[in-house]
C-alpha cells in the first residue's frame, strides 16, 4: 500500500509492503496516482517494458520510477498494471500504457523523482520506501 506525506513544495510518497516485488509495484502505482485518476487498459493500450540495473535498492527504486516517468512523458501515456520480475543485476518491469486522451481525469505533472529523503528499508517483517517527487 502507498500513502502520501507532507512536503512543503512537493509531494512525498511512502510505500509499505511485505515483499520487495510488491514494494516496487506499489511505488509505481502510487507515482501514477499523482498524475491521473486510476486507469484501466482499453483498445488503444499497449504493453511496455523496462529494465533497470543496480545493487543499491534506493537507487534501483529511483531508476525504476524515473524510467516509468520518462516513458509516460515521452509517449503521453498513463501507466498501470505494473509487474515486477527480479533479474540478474536488477529488475524488469512490465506495464500497460494508456494514452492520456483516454485516461480520464489528469491531475498534475510530476517533473522528476528526487534523491532527497530517498530510502528503502527492511524493517521487521515489512519493506518501507519513501521518495519525494518534484511537481
Amino acid at each position: 500500500m502507498y500513502e502520501l506525506f507532507d512536503h512543503t513544495a512537493d509531494i512525498g510518497l511512502r510505500v509499505r509492503s511485505a515483499d520487495r516485488e510488491d514494494l516496487f509495484r506499489e511505488a509505481a502505482t502510487g507515482l501514477f496516482s499523482l498524475i491521473a485518476e486510476p486507469v484501466r487498459g482499453g483498445p488503444s493500450s499497449c504493453p511496455v517494458e523496462i529494465e533497470v540495473r543496480g545493487e543499491r535498492l534506493d537507487l534501483l527504486l529511483f531508476d525504476w520510477l524515473s524510467e516509468w516517468l520518462y516513458l509516460s512523458d515521452r509517449d503521453r501515456t498513463i501507466l498501470c498494471d505494473f509487474e515486477v520480475e527480479w533479474v540478474e543485476g536488477g529488475l524488469r518491469g512490465r506495464a500497460t500504457a494508456v494514452p492520456m486522451e483516454e485516461a480520464g481525469a489528469l491531475l498534475r505533472e510530476v517533473k522528476a523523482i528526487t534523491y532527497h529523503g530517498l530510502r528503502v528499508e527492511h524493517a521487521g517483517t515489512e519493506w518501507i520506501a519513501e521518495v519525494i517527487v518534484d511537481v
Binding site: 507532507d6 513544495a9 512525498g12 524515473s66 491531475l107 522528476a112 532527497h116
Partner: protein, 487 residues
C-alpha cells in the same frame, strides 16, 4: 520523512537577517543567512528549510554565506529561495540541485494599452480563449514543432532563433534576462531522452505552480519607475510563469545520474545526495553547465512562444493587432538558474557561479546587463504571488550587490504543503471562491486549483516588504489577478 520543525540555531543579526552560525554543523564552510521579518521567520521555522540552508554551506568554494530569501521553503537538497555563489578559483562546484529540475523556470510580464474597464466585459471570453489556445496541464502538446536540427539551434541561440520565424522581436530580446541566451549552451550535451521529452513541449505551460494570469495594475508605489516600465494604474497586463518543461527536467535528472559517485571522487562530503555537485572545472561540471545553458535557452523560447500565443488571442478577442494593443514585453526573469557573474567579494572583483534556486536576479541601477531604457531605475524584478491576492513588480537595488550577489526573492513561497492544501479544500469550490474575489480561473483539474489556492501561499506583500526594506529591490507596482489559466 515527514514535515518536522527546524530546531537548530537562528540568531538575529539585523532587522531582516537571521544567521545559522557555521559552528552549527561541522562541515559548514560559511554561515547561513536568511532574510525574513519576525512574522515570516516563525513560518520558516516550521519545516526543514533552515536545515537545508545549513547543508548548502557544505559546498566547496562557497563564498560569503549560504543565503535564503524571505519566500524560503523546504525543497529537495537546496531550499527553495536559496542563493549560493561558488568560486571556481577556490575549487568551487556547480550543483544541479542548486538550479532545480525546472531549469530556467521564470516569469515574464507583458503590458497592454487596455484598461480594466475595456477588458472586464469580455473577461470570460478572453480567459476561455486563452485556455483553449495556450496548452496547459499534463500531456498537452504544443502547437509548435521543431525537428532535431531546429531544436539544436533553438537551444544554442535561445530567443534569437525565433526572430527568423516571426515569433520574437528585437525588443523582446532586449527585455529578456541575458537577452534570452546563455552563451555556454552546448546542445550536443543534451541527451536524446531530454530532446524526446521536450520536442513537443516548447510553447506549453505545464502544471503545478505554473500559470498565465491576466492582471491589473492595482497600486503604483514608484511612479517614475512605473512610467519607465510602461505601467500605470488600472492597466491590464499578462504574467506568464513556466520553465524548460520535460527537456529541462531530464537534463537535471541526467546530470544527477552522471554525478553519482562524483562527490566521493573529488573528496566532497555532502549531507544530502540531492546536493550532488562537481567542481566547475571538472569534465562532469562542464558537461552539466553546457546542458544546463541549453535547457535555459529552451525555457526562454518556451516563454516567448507562450507570449506569442497570448498576443494572438488578445488580437482575436479585441480585433486589433498585438502591436496596436501595445503588447510589449516588460521583462523576463529566470528564477531557477546558475549564472557566471562578476561580484565584489573580500574587496576584489571575482567571477563566481551564482546558483539561484527560486530566487531572482536584481541588478541595481547602472548595471551594464540591464536594458538601456531601464538602466536608470534598475533591473525589473517580477514576483508572482498567488492567484487570489497579488503579484509585484520591483526593481533591483544596490543592496542586492552588497548583500546577496545581486539577488532577491522569487515569489510568495508556500505556507502549506500540497497535501494539506487539498485537505483544506475539502467540500469547497476554489474556482467559485476566486470568482467572488473577481478572478476568472480555468484549470485542467480541480486538484490543481486546490493545491494552488491562495491560502497555500504566504502573503506576497509580507515577502516583498522584507526585500524592499532590506534594500535588495524596490517596490514599483502591485498587480492584481483577474483571469487565471492553470494546468
Amino acid at each position: 520523512m515527514g514535515k518536522q520543525a527546524y530546531s537548530g540555531p537562528l540568531e538575529r543579526v539585523g532587522e531582516f537577517v537571521w544567521r545559522i552560525p557555521r559552528s552549527y554543523k561541522s562541515g559548514m564552510r560559511v554561515d547561513g543567512l536568511i532574510y525574513a521579518s519576525e512574522k515570516l521567520i516563525e513560518q520558516i521555522r516550521h519545516d526543514q528549510a533552515p536545515e537545508q540552508v545549513a547543508n548548502v554551506a557544505f559546498l566547496p568554494g562557497i563564498q560569503h554565506a549560504s543565503l535564503a530569501m524571505p519566500d524560503i521553503h523546504w525543497g529537495y537538497g537546496f531550499t527553495i529561495g536559496g542563493v549560493c555563489a561558488t568560486d571556481p578559483e577556490e575549487g568551487g562546484v556547480i550543483s544541479p540541485g542548486g538550479v532545480g529540475y525546472d531549469i530556467n523556470c521564470g516569469v515574464r510580464l507583458v503590458r497592454t494599452r487596455l484598461s480594466r474597464s475595456e477588458v472586464e466585459p469580455v473577461l470570460e471570453r478572453l480567459v476561455d480563449a486563452l485556455y483553449r489556445r495556450v496548452p496547459a496541464g499534463v500531456g498537452r502538446g504544443g502547437a509548435f514543432r521543431f525537428d532535431a536540427k531546429e531544436l539544436c539551434r533553438l537551444m544554442a541561440e535561445g530567443t534569437r532563433f525565433l526572430v527568423g520565424r516571426g515569433l520574437a522581436s528585437e525588443a523582446d530580446i532586449a527585455h529578456t534576462e541575458a537577452h534570452g541566451c546563455l552563451s555556454g549552451a552546448d546542445p550536443d550535451l543534451v541527451s536524446a531522452r531530454a530532446v524526446e521529452r521536450g520536442a513537443a513541449q516548447c510553447g506549453t505551460l505545464g502544471s503545478g505552480n505554473h500559470f498565465l494570469e491576466v492582471q491589473v495594475v492595482d497600486e503604483v508605489c514608484d511612479e517614475p519607475a512605473a512610467r519607465t516600465l510602461g505601467l500605470a494604474p488600472d492597466q491590464v497586463c499578462v504574467m506568464i510563469h513556466s520553465g524548460s518543461r520535460g527537456l529541462g527536467y531530464q537534463v537535471c535528472d541526467d546530470a544527477l545520474r552522471d554525478l553519482r559517485g562524483v562527490p566521493v571522487k573529488y573528496g566532497i562530503q555532502l549531507p544530502d545526495a540531492q546536493l550532488a555537485c562537481a567542481p566547475v572545472e571538472s569534465p562532469e561540471g562542464r558537461r552539466y553547465l553546457g546542458a544546463m545553458c541549453a535547457a535555459g535557452n529552451f525555457a526562454w523560447c518556451n516563454r516567448q512562444l507562450l507570449m506569442a500565443q497570448t498576443r494572438d488571442v488578445f488580437a482575436e478577442v479585441f480585433g486589433r493587432s498585438w502591436s496596436e494593443l501595445g503588447m510589449s514585453l516588460v521583462y523576463d526573469v529566470a528564477h531557477n538558474i546558475a549564472k557566471h557573474e562578476l561580484h565584489r567579494i573580500g574587496g576584489r572583483e571575482r567571477r563566481v557561479w551564482v546558483h539561484r534556486k527560486g530566487a531572482t536576479r536584481a541588478f541595481p541601477p547602472g548595471h551594464p546587463e540591464i536594458p538601456a531604457d531601464y538602466r536608470a531605475i534598475g533591473q525589473p524584478v517580477l514576483i508572482p504571488g498567488d492567484m487570489g491576492r497579488a503579484s509585484w513588480v520591483l526593481v533591483g537595488q544596490p543592496g542586492s550587490m552588497e548583500q546577496t550577489f545581486g539577488t532577491t526573492c522569487h515569489g510568495a513561497g508556500r505556507a502549506m504543503s500540497r497535501t494539506a492544501a487539498l485537505r483544506a479544500s475539502h467540500g469547497r469550490r476554489i474556482d467559485q471562491e476566486l470568482r467572488e474575489r473577481g478572478v476568472v480561473a480555468r484549470a485542467q483539474s480541480w486538484r490543481g486549483l486546490a493545491e494552488e489556492q491562495p491560502a497555500a501561499y504566504k502573503n506576497v506583500d509580507d515577502v516583498v516588504e522584507v526585500v524592499h526594506r532590506a534594500g535588495l529591490s524596490r517596490k514599483v507596482a502591485r498587480m492584481r489577478p483577474i483571469g487565471v489559466i492553470k494546468g
